[in-house]
């Protein structure tokens, strides 16, 4: 009986940990700011552009509606907080005709809510003409952008193999950490906080039960 209880508890802990390790199904583009080297790293890039963040927007077909996630991170190893901004320079001149046919929305995932930053034809700069504040990130912090691109079903054959280029500029402002900054550091990523807190609680309870059981077993000889 004791063994069964121990196995069940272990199973519960393992299951909880496995759930915690599940990852998003979307292939995200990543913007990493490193204060150590004072530069942005754009990944993964593509054969069209080494700084391409749009992993999901290749080989699209009329009628497609495709989501793209982009994660913006502060990967600095020392204690700085970084104010991050983004703005759009719009489509390259030779891409305007093609991209004007597509509709793009961009939202920032914030406290499990979507804050829309852009909702217009893909060639426009729209709500990102001026700098848009993404957040203040501490070392290790990140903020997520969720894009959705709609291709009209009636897009004609003249757009087969069409290629469109959009420039986004990112800005980082490094700030020293103030003594009155919140602790523990805010990462800017609030997703799954309750889940991880619950996971920690379940694991802790399981450990306590195991320890108590072992003590009891030892006492009983």
């Amino acid at each position: 009986m004791k063994k069964i209880i121990s196995i069940l508890i272990s199973l519960l802990v393992v299951t909880a940990m496995t759930c915690g390790l599940s990852i998003s199904a979307y292939a995200a583009g990543t913007v990493t700011y490193s204060a150590d080297s004072s530069k942005f790293i754009f990944e993964p890039g593509s054969s069209h552009s080494p700084t391409d963040l749009f992993t999901e927007y290749k080989g699209l077909m009329p009628g497609d509606s495709v989501r793209q996630d982009i994660t913006v991170k502060n990967d600095s190893s020392y204690g700085v907080k970084v104010k991050l901004y983004v703005r759009s320079h719009g489509a390259h001149e030779d891409s305007v005709d093609f991209l004007s046919k597509l509709h793009l929305t961009i939202a920032k995932s914030e406290n499990n809510e979507m804050a829309y930053m852009f909702d217009a034809a893909a060639d426009q700069t729209g709500g990102m003409t001026d700098w848009v504040y993404l957040g203040t990130l501490y070392s290790g912090g990140e903020v997520n952008l969720i894009l959705n691109l709609d291709i009209p079903i009636e897009l004609g054959n003249e757009y087969q193999d069409a290629i469109g280029y959009i420039d986004w500029e990112f800005k980082a402002e490094e700030m020293p950490i103030d003594p009155d900054d919140p602790k523990p550091p805010q990462t800017g990523d609030n997703s799954n906080l309750y889940f991880y807190a619950m996971l920690a609680g379940v694991s802790g309870i399981a450990l306590v039960i195991l320890i108590l059981k072992r003590k009891k077993d030892t006492a009983n000889g």
Partner: protein, 188 residues
């Protein structure tokens, strides 16, 4: 005088604060060039023939000196050479050009082909391939031989028969669950 000093000191302090606040952080900017690309639909019409000596099909070449009652090997099929699954349809237009000086009304029904009705369905002047054609795949042949009727009269001596094949494709993605529901076919 003391007042002036005080004002100067105050300005200096203000400037120091301003200077401090402007040097309190560094800023960096960089640009990502993001790319959106469209896919494509690409097909290849294949016209093959079994040589008279037998063996594997070879590219079809015009058949010469055809006599009434003869079968001419002509295998018509379509290959998907793109990266997207496609719906396929084919039109077949027959014509006969009589020899110089010969006048008469041609009967196109004298030229027939062994239509593969298992995979191809005729509707609205086209033969629709009922299955999805995935990238790299080739359709079952629309037909494999053309037959010239044995009752073709002397009017057709030295005439020239033409069978014009036109293959079209449209995307499967977001475009109906059967070939007959699909839209977006190229204009003929």
């Amino acid at each position: 005088m003391k007042k002036k000093l005080l004002v100067c000191a105050f300005i200096a302090v203000c400037l120091s604060i301003v200077a401090y606040s402007t040097t309190a952080y560094f800023s960096y900017e960089d640009t990502a060039t993001n790319v959106i690309t469209m896919g494509n639909i690409k097909i290849e019409l294949q016209e093959l023939a079994i040589p008279d000596s037998g063996g594997d099909p070879i590219p079809f070449e015009d058949a010469m000196d055809v006599l009434p009652g003869m079968d001419v090997s002509k295998i018509v099929q379509v290959k998907n050479v793109g990266v997207q699954p496609s719906w396929i349809r084919v039109s077949v237009a027959k014509s006969i050009l009589l020899a110089d000086g010969i006048i008469g009304e041609v009967d196109l029904s004298l030229i027939t082909y062994d239509l593969n009705t298992q995979y191809w369905i005729e509707q609205d002047g086209y033969f629709y391939y009922k299955d999805i054609l995935n990238p790299g795949e080739t359709t079952a042949p629309l037909f494999t031989k053309v037959t010239f009727a044995s009752n073709m009269s002397n009017m057709y001596q030295q005439s020239k028969a033409t069978i014009k094949i036109n293959a079209q494709a449209t995307q499967v993605v977001n475009n109906g669950s059967t070939v007959f529901e699909a839209v977006g076919w190229p204009k003929a």
